[in-house]
């Protein structure tokens, strides 16, 4: 069961990819830009995490559902994966909301909107 947490994160990320591909919201719309946004935002959150670890706020638990692989003291392998997932889900929900609001305002089905044009 050591892979339960990591596996759940990866399966959930896969589900986000399906929504992304179906509606061309983020990686399926501008792959390079989406990758840069994701990496930069997750990197910011990781620095935040490392600061918290440095201050002694966060401590790694001893759950049997983690791989036990640590990237740094108190920083399990799962944490950066979680941060990437967090950024991705915020992006999908946010850009999905944008698309739905645009479709509502134009009174057309969301499918008919070009993936561009929401800068």
């Amino acid at each position: 069961m050591a892979y339960l947490y990591l596996g759940s994160l990866l399966v959930a990320s896969g589900c986000l990819c399906l929504i992304d591909a179906r509606w061309r919201l983020f990686f399926w719309r501008a792959p390079a830009r989406a990758a840069m946004v994701t990496v930069l935002a997750a990197w910011f959150l990781l620095i935040w995490d490392l600061a918290g670890i440095g201050l002694g706020i966060f401590l790694r638990g001893s759950s049997p559902w983690m791989t036990g692989i640590d990237l740094a003291p108190q920083l399990p392998l799962e944490e950066p994966v979680f941060l990437l997932f967090l950024v991705y889900i915020v992006a999908i929900i946010g850009f999905g909301t944008r698309r739905m609001l645009d479709a509502l305002a134009l009174r057309v089905p969301a499918e008919s909107l070009s993936p561009g044009g929401d800068e």
Partner: protein
């Protein structure tokens, strides 16, 4: 330093990045549309804020609900622990209230970075190609 202070510091940086993105986008759009009066730039910034605030708000609120549920699970399953002397002790479910600043920061950063990384050329092209979507942008 407590967890709350740490979160306020990182949220402040996120807010600065969002303000930078909004100012830059407002300036670029004004230039593309050949309007340069300061009042019109302010109006353009306000329009962009009206357009993007719902995106950030829905993104944050949805993920905050997920945070309350899944953060609690991470704590019950002993995936993460906190030093109880460094957190405020205010919790939603089992999740320390400070943890909700992560989705809040992400909701500010994602649209901001997206806008900052949008090439200027494609922004101008699009402004000319999809006038009907610009209309939507006006929030009417």
């Amino acid at each position: 330093m407590t967890y709350l202070t740490l979160c306020i510091a990182f949220l402040a940086v996120s807010l600065l990045i969002a303000a930078w993105a909004l100012t830059r986008a407002g300036r670029l759009r004004s230039t593309a549309d050949h309007i340069a009066a300061p009042g019109e730039r302010r109006a353009e910034r306000a329009r962009l804020l009206r357009r993007w605030l719902p995106v950030a708000a829905v993104g944050f609120l949805s993920v905050a609900v997920l945070t309350a549920v899944f953060d609690s699970l991470l704590i019950v399953t002993d995936i993460i622990r906190y030093d109880s002397t460094l957190i405020s002790g205010i919790r939603i479910g089992l999740a320390p209230i400070e943890d909700f600043s992560y989705p809040l920061a992400a909701a500010m950063l994602v649209p901001s970075l997206w806008s900052l990384l949008t090439p200027t050329a494609s922004r101008v092209d699009r402004a000319n190609t999809f006038p009907e979507q610009q209309q939507t942008g006006a929030g009417r």
